[in-house]
């Protein structure tokens, strides 16, 4: 909508400053400068100006991003070349090239908020004027249909209610990223569907995310849809695991993620909804539905959302992101295929050697005490346990090396049949050998949890390495 040449003012009669400047607008016109006035609330205002335009639908105000009334613009060759907001004699004189102006008026008077930014109207205006850039199919909900029930009936949910994805909410969600709505983020298994930023935003709305979480969700979707993470296989497996999202870097605190008390539990919006958004994308866009492609025997509650931040500030160790080669200050999302957690209870050990042995004893039992080499795990060390290692000068690398040594197991105890248990390693691989519980790189270690509690946690993993799922990290981009 092109503006007319010359001077353009946007006003509303409800604004005292607009009424104050009404004689000024008429005064400018008497000097032979054409002035067009757009009126937001009363097409008869200002009566003293002939060239009035009814902008009660706020189309012009919205399109020209009017924040304050009065706003005075100078338009040359169809383009805005100058703008001033509120009343300032000096600014109006300069912009109108008429001097003096507004004799008898105060030198300055601030304006009022434009109706186009009125919180009660802004969402509706946005949908009307910006909704066209959303490409998703519109689903009409009958007037008497409950939106939340409608989402259930269309199988869009994970079993919990979802926030209805209206255009207004999706547009607000898209404010969380600088990426274009139609940018392809990834190709989502199992149906191998290219997913756009907009589709991720729709599912993020449904999951309950705030717009500032969207960059984390986008990075999680990117990480999930890689050959290394192998979301397809993780989805199909009869095993327990699902995607576990670990967030590192400044974004975790910026969006209020929990890395402390109850960080693997309920109660924090970001933790609860980011992991959920990822799972909704996989379900709704990828087509990975429980009982369909998802063939888990049991699954686990973490498949609703399993997402937490590493406690970096309180950690004596290098972070997971730093270990994976990311510079300090970089925000990352790491995806691990896992489930749990299961507890390591050790309230007595005060030496790192003893505590490491406790860790190893429990880690050995992960998956099955006689299954080694093939699977992955993530060890979440609590602040009170980490303090034991830090006081003795143990780095994370030292702990890992000690655990590797403690978890180099006697193959004769692992072979099928040993200990009266038929499950175990094939004799050809294990008999007479020493085998590692985890291959190098298949045991991740992070620091998180509340400040009180001599416990740590094991998030047991799925099949490790190239034949299963590898820990996969992506940078969070704005």
């Amino acid at each position: 909508m092109r503006l007319p040449e010359g001077l353009v003012a946007v006003v509303k009669s409800d604004c005292p400053t607009c009424r104050l400047v009404e004689p000024v607008l008429a005064e400018i016109a008497t000097h032979g400068h054409p002035v067009t006035v757009y009126s937001q609330d009363d097409p008869a205002f200002p009566a003293s100006v002939a060239a009035r335009v009814d902008d009660r639908d706020l189309a012009v105000s919205w399109q020209h991003r009017i924040q304050t009334v009065p706003t005075l613009l100078r338009v040359e060759n169809g383009a805005e070349v100058a703008r001033t907001e509120g009343w300032s004699r000096a600014d109006w004189e300069a912009l109108a090239a008429v001097r003096p102006l507004g004799a008898g008026l105060p030198a300055h008077r601030p304006g009022c908020g434009s109706r186009s930014v009125d919180p009660a109207l802004a969402d509706g205006l946005r949908v009307r004027f910006d909704g066209g850039r959303l490409r998703a199919r519109r689903v009409e909900i009958a007037e008497l249909e409950d939106e939340i029930e409608a989402a259930y009936e269309r199988r869009w949910t994970d079993g919990l209610p979802v926030v209805p994805p209206t255009a207004a909410r999706v547009l607000r969600m898209l404010d969380g990223t600088t990426r274009a709505p139609d940018e392809i983020v990834a190709v989502v298994p199992p149906d191998l569907v290219p997913v756009t930023v907009e589709k991720v935003a729709i599912n993020a709305v449904m999951a309950g995310c705030k717009p500032e979480y969207l960059p984390v969700v986008l990075a999680a979707v990117e990480a999930a849809c890689t050959d290394s993470f192998n979301m397809h296989g993780l989805l199909c497996t009869t095993y327990f695991s699902g995607p576990v999202v670990v967030v590192n870097g400044p974004i975790a605190a910026e969006i209020g993620m929990n890395s402390g008390v109850n960080c693997l539990g309920q109660g924090n919006r970001a933790n609860a909804t980011i992991g959920r958004a990822l799972q909704l994308v996989v379900q709704n866009v990828g087509g990975g539905t429980p009982g369909g492609i998802d063939r888990a025997t049991f699954g686990g509650p973490g498949k609703y959302s399993f997402c937490f931040a590493e406690d970096e500030g309180g950690s004596p160790w290098t972070s997971l992101a730093a270990e994976r080669g990311f510079a300090p200050g970089t925000s990352t999302v790491s995806l691990f295929a896992g489930h749990g957690p299961s507890a390591i209870l050790d309230q007595i050990s005060r030496s790192p050697e003893s505590l490491a042995r406790s860790f190893a004893a429990k880690l050995r039992a992960a998956h099955h005490p006689k299954i080694v080499v093939a699977m992955a795990a993530m060890l979440v060390v609590s602040p009170e346990h980490a303090r034991v290692f830090a006081a003795a000068g143990w780095s994370k690398a030292r702990l890992r090396a000690e655990l590797e040594a403690l978890l180099l197991l006697d193959g004769d105890e692992l072979v099928r049949g040993a200990g009266g248990i038929e499950e175990g390693m094939p004799a050809a691989l294990a008999a007479g050998q020493r085998l590692p519980k985890f291959r190098t790189g298949d045991l991740a270690i992070v620091h998180a949890g509340g400040g009180a509690g001599l416990f740590s946690a094991i998030i047991e993993g799925w099949v490790a390495g190239e034949k299963g799922s590898q820990l996969t990290t992506r940078e969070v981009r704005p």
Partner: protein, 107 residues
Amino acid sequence: MISSTSGAPSSAAEVQTQTLLDPTSERRPAGRARVARPPSLDGRVVALLDISKPRGDVFLAHLAELLAARGVAVRRYMKPTFTKPAPADLRSRIARECHLVIEALAD
């Protein structure tokens, strides 16, 4: 009086509550019709695909014996890992070399 557009502003609430954006792929996975079953196995080559699950080979070995006893040609294949779809190369080799495929799952 000039009018730029007609009508009062539409209700924001009306726009928000009546229309939802589809969160799905907006497509059903392309359904592909199955090839008709052959009336007999005479002159056909059967692929036996081991997906690398434990004991799948035992099951397939038994099938191979039964098919061989009926004079049916059999070729054996194996996926590198059961956790991922069969690589495209393997799928195309099976399609090139065989008429039918039996994929075995065992645990």
